[in-house]
């Protein structure tokens, strides 16, 4: 295992020290492993909390700041945070207008956030609305699965919903926008290599030099199928076509197109993939209104990428364009 770390057990807490040192505009609760925007709680503003296992950086801590999240709870590597963290965060950021929990749809995340919301209601009487993201078309949403995983759409959602909250919109509206973005978004990912959880010390799965996994999530887990390595053109089709056939795009609908790196793939390859994605979308008459290219929801050092498309409305685009000031996304300020 080759990593820039000290003890595997200390990776998350030491990275939080680094985030604190690099971003004095944030506040870090090291005991609870929660990252706060510096001016939290913002009175009268709906507060946004997300969180999840670590190893997906910049998600979620890199999205804390004005115009996006109020707090992010960092779990152990690839393991959802525990209810206490979300409870602490919920109490700390509540500005009186209620709190939205943004939860990626994994059994563990959903259960831990659920317990936190129960406790927040019982202990502190705080209004919490949970929004679960489940955009991964690689997973069939049926009785036979835990439902679709929450992946790339989470990034787009946190930005857009963060802007809505920043504008002072009320809890119900903010939650509705979150649900709309999730309903309008679909993703699909692939891996060229596996990744290694520091405490495990070896790759979660093995892939031969001529193989890749299609339909992976973001936890170094194997995907839906293992296929021979293919050119970028074909990989792009394997990712985009299932999205388009799942989401009823009408020709001409504007989308936010997001090509995400899994952590170990260089930017030049992501731009090359973006070109393929844009080409395929053009062929379907889907217009790209906004784009995002880079490693934003990662799986440690995994090589690979995912594609997320979100069907946008004018309101959603305006919220996307609104100012944001976080370590990983910043514009307008």
């Amino acid at each position: 295992m080759k990593k820039l770390i000290n003890e595997p057990a200390d990776v998350v807490s030491e990275a939080l020290l680094g985030i604190e040192a690099a971003h004095p505009e944030l506040k870090i609760d090291h005991a609870s492993k929660v990252i706060y925007r510096g001016d939290a709680p913002v009175s009268g503003k709906v507060a946004l909390i997300s969180g999840g296992g670590s190893g997906h950086e910049p998600l979620h801590g890199g999205f804390v700041g004005p115009g996006m999240l109020d707090a992010a709870c960092a779990g152990e590597m690839f393991t959802s945070p525990v209810p206490e963290q979300m409870l602490t965060a919920t109490k700390a950021v509540d500005g009186g207008a209620g709190v939205v929990h943004i939860v990626k749809n994994y059994t563990g995340d959903v259960m831990n956030f659920e317990m936190a919301a129960e406790l927040a209601a019982a202990e502190a009487g705080i209004d919490v609305v949970s929004v679960v993201t489940d955009d991964d078309v690689a997973v069939q949403d049926s009785l036979y699965t835990a439902g679709r995983r929450g992946v790339g759409v989470t990034v787009i959602l946190e930005k857009i919903v963060g802007a809505a909250a920043e504008q002072g919109r009320p809890l119900a509206e903010v939650a509705d926008i979150a649900k709309l973005v999730n309903a309008n978004g679909r993703s699909m990912g692939m891996a060229l290599t596996s990744c290694t959880v520091p405490a495990a010390g070896k790759p979660t799965f093995e892939l031969a030099e001529d193989e890749m996994e299609i339909g992976i999530g973001i936890h170094g887990e194997p995907g839906r199928r293992r296929v021979p390595l293919a050119p970028a053109k074909e990989i792009a089709e394997m990712l985009v076509e299932p999205i388009l056939s799942d989401l009823p795009f009408t020709s001409g609908d504007p989308v936010i197109a997001f090509v995400n790196g899994m952590g170990g793939t260089p930017l030049i390859e992501l731009y090359l993939m973006y070109n393929e994605v844009a080409r395929i979308l053009g062929g379907h008459g889907v217009g790209i209104a906004r784009s995002l290219v880079g490693p934003y929801i990662t799986s440690l050092e995994m090589a690979g990428c995912s594609v997320t498309l979100v069907k946008a409305t004018d309101d959603l685009l305006a919220l996307w364009d609104a100012p944001v000031n976080t370590p990983a996304l910043r514009w307008g300020v």
Partner: protein, 211 residues
């Protein structure tokens, strides 16, 4: 042979479970790597180490106090799917055992049933979903049945542990329908469920020190 689960017996159970988890840490992680995210052993080990540390410093004068401490510690140290599930199991066990220092076999069996119900309430697992439920439910059934047939607590726990292990083994051919493994669909077939494997350790620990 004692017919009750004493406070020290419950204590020994928790410690024995911690020891077995520690011993099987790599196996649990390996199983989770095949169909999950490769952290079940790490999660359980972190959780049980936290439990041991918590118990060392705590006053736990009753079964409820002891088991609640275990449950709370698991909820706040594990995360993932197994944290709330095992945590809820012990929290329900605690309520069902009550503020006593000794519970009889029937009470213990009812407490186990309550713990199982808690897991179902949180995770909505059903039989055949390829989860810890598939080891825990047969174990609870075997415990009830053996006690009803007049077995001692120890013998009934033996039967329960055997049933848990059979249930664990039976998860191999199942396609997963809950938890991360469900994403793999048919690709999960042929792999034993990690949570069912740790659940079998829980009952094996009980059989070797309780009753």
């Amino acid at each position: 042979m004692s017919e009750t689960a004493t406070l020290s017996g419950l204590n020994a159970w928790v410690r024995e479970f911690a020891a077995l988890v520690d011993e099987h840490k790599e196996e649990l992680t390996r199983l989770d790597s095949a169909i999950g995210d490769g952290d079940h052993g790490i999660n359980m080990e972190r959780g049980m180490a936290a439990v041991l540390a918590a118990l060392d410093g705590a006053e736990t004068p009753s079964s409820a106090a002891l088991l609640k401490n275990v449950g709370m510690t698991l909820v706040s140290a594990v995360g993932g799917a197994s944290g709330p599930l095992y945590g809820t199991f012990f929290l329900r066990l605690a309520s069902a055992c009550g503020e006593v220092t000794e519970v009889d076999a029937d009470t213990f069996a009812k407490a186990v049933r309550a713990g199982l119900d808690g897991i179902v309430a949180r995770g909505k697992a059903e039989s055949g979903d390829k989860t810890m439920y598939d080891a825990l439910a047969p174990a609870a059934d075997a415990l009830d049945e053996a006690l009803a047939g007049g077995s001692s607590l120890r013998a009934a726990l033996e039967a329960a542990a055997d049933a848990a292990e059979a249930g664990r083994d039976a998860t191999s051919p199942m396609p997963a329908r809950k938890g991360r493994a469900s994403y793999l669909g048919e690709r999960s077939v042929g792999h034993q469920d990690p949570g069912a494997t740790s659940a079998a350790l829980l009952f094996r620990a009980a059989a070797s020190v309780l009753g």
